[in-house]
Amino acid sequence: MSVIDVSSGQRRARLAALRYDLYLLQKNVLSMAGLVVVVLLVLAAALAPVLAPYPADAGTQVHMSQQLLPPSRTHLFGTDEMGRDIFSRVLYGARISLGIGVFTIGLALLIGVPLGLVAGYAGGIVDEVIMRVTDVFLSFPPLLLATAVSAMLGPSLVNAMIAIAIAWWPWYTRLIRGQAVSLRERGFVEAARATGVPHVTIIFRHILPNAIAPVIVQASMDFGSVILEAASLSFLGLGAQPPEPEWGLMVSLGRNFFLTDWWYVTFPGLAILITVLGFNLLGDGLREILDPKTREV
C-alpha cells in the first residue's frame, strides 16, 4: 500500500522471518498433526466420489436387505438402518463440513468486518451504537442464539449456517474494531485524509489490509468450532436434514440404535472429533507462532 520501494535487504529479512516461522511450525509436533488432519480432510472431501466404495449411498440409495451390518471388509464402518455404507457417507460428509466452515465463517466475516471497520474508524456515536449492539449479541450464549435463530428460520442446513453466522459475527467486529482504532491514529491515515482521500477508500484500501491479520488467524481457528456447532444443530434436528450425510445428523439418527449397533454413532462422531481437533491443533500452533510472547527466540 505504500509507495516505498522494498530494498533487497528487506526482502531477504522477510524471507528469513518466513523460514523461521515455518521452522517453528514444524517444530511443534501437535500443529503438524493438525495440519496433516486438515489436509486429509480436504483430500477426503475432494476425492470422495473416487474413494467411496458406495458413492450412491451418500444420496438416496438404500439397500434394505443390508440394514445395520457391523463393520466388515466390504463395509468399513458398517451400515445404517437403510443399509447405506457409513464409510462412504462419512467421506461425503467431509464435503459438507468443509462447506459449512467456509460458508459460515465467510458470512460472519462479511457481516462483522465492515461493521467493525466502520465502528473503529468513525469513532464517536457510530462506534458506541455499533459496539452496544455487538455487546447485546455477545450477551447471548452462542449456541442458544444459533439454536433460536435456526428454529425460527426453519430446519435446514443453510438456515443453520446462517444462524451460526449470526451468532458469530460479533467476535470479528470486536476484533477488527480494536485494530481499526489503533490504526486510525497512525500517520498514514492522517496523510491520506489531508490529501482528500474519501473515507470509504481509506477504510477499505488502507485500514483493512493492515487490520485483517488477527481476524484471519481467529477465523481459521474458528473453523473447528463452527463445524462443531453445525453438527450440534444437526443433532437437534435443526440443521441438515435426511438424507444428507452430515456427521451430526448421522449421530442423531444413530442414537436410536447405538446401544446395540455401536458403529452407527461412533464413526461419524469420531470424524467430527478428529476434524475439529485437527483445526484446533493447527490454529493453536498458528497462534503460538504469531504471538510474540510465546515465540521462542
Partner: protein, 338 residues
Amino acid sequence: MLRYIVRRLALGVLVLWGTTMVTFFVARVVPSDPAARWVGPRATVEEIARARQELGLDKPLYVQYIRYMSDLLHGNWGTSFVTHQPVLKDIGTYLPASLELVICGMILAILIGVPLGVVSATHKGGLIDHLSRTFSIGAVSLPTFWMAMILQLVFFGHLHLLPVGGRLDMGIQLAYPLRRITGSYVLDSLLEGNWTVLGNSLLHLVLPAVTLAAYPLGLITRMTRSSMLEVLSEDYIRVARAYGVSERRITYWYALKNAIGPTVTVVALTFAYSLAGTFLIEAVFNWPGLGQYAANAVISGDYPAIMGVTILVAALYVVLNLAVDIVHALVDPRIKTS
C-alpha cells in the same frame, strides 16, 4: 470500590435491557401465530381471535412491549404456551436440575484443570505437559452429544456400572420420597440424611457431569498453563528464586496469585456457556432441566418461555461478568485504583 461495582452494574442493566428488546422483537417477527399455538391445533377461528385479544396480541407492538416489560419487573414472566404454567414457576422447577449438573461439572473441571495447568507449566516440555496439552485441546474439540453417548455405551451398555440417564432410578423415587427444599436432589437428600437417594442421585450425576466438564476442563487447563508460564517468566519470580524461596512456594503462592486472574474469567464464561448449552447433554441423558425446557420452547414456538429463559440466561451472564470483575479487583490490587 463501590463506585466500580455500581458502574459495572449499570452497564450490565443496560445490556440486559437491550437483550429484552432484541429477544422480544425478534420473537415477534417469527412467522407463526402465538394465539393459535396457545389455543391448540384444533381451534376454531373464533377461538383464535378471542385468544389473540386475551393475550393482547391485537395491540400495537410497542404497547405489547411496554406491557411485557412492566409485567417482567412485577414478577409476571408470562405463561408458557406448552405447559400452561407461569414461566417463572417453570423456571423454578427446571433450573435447579441444570444448576446441579453445571455446578458439579464445573467443580470437577476446576479441581482437575487448575492443578493440571500448573503442573504443566512448571514442567514445561515434559511428558505431563505434552499429554495435558493434547488432552485439553481434545477436550475442547469433543462433540458433547457424541461423548455423552460413548460414555453411556461404555459405562452402561458394556460395563453396566452407571445408569443410562435420568436423575434417579424410578424405584427409588417412589420408595424414598424426597422433600423438595432446593430442588437439587444431592443437596436435599444431604439435608434430610436420606442416604439412599443421595447415593443414587450422585450415581446418576457422574456421566452427565463428566460430559459437561470436558469443555471447561480443556479451557481451564490451557488458560492456567499459559497464564502460569507468563507469570513464571516475570522478574519478581526470579527475585524470589534469588532469595532462596522454595519452588513450591514460588509456584503455589507467588506465581499462582498472579496467574489466576484469566482462569477466573474462563471459569465464569464457561459456567455461563455450559448453563446455556446443557440442552444437548440433557437431551441425551434425559435430564429434566432448563435446557430441555428451553429446547422444547424453541421448537414449539413457545415464546413466553423462550423470552423467560433467554432473559434469565442473559441476566446470569451479566451477574457472572460482574462477579468476575469483582474477583479480579480483589485479587489484583492495581485494579481498584485505576
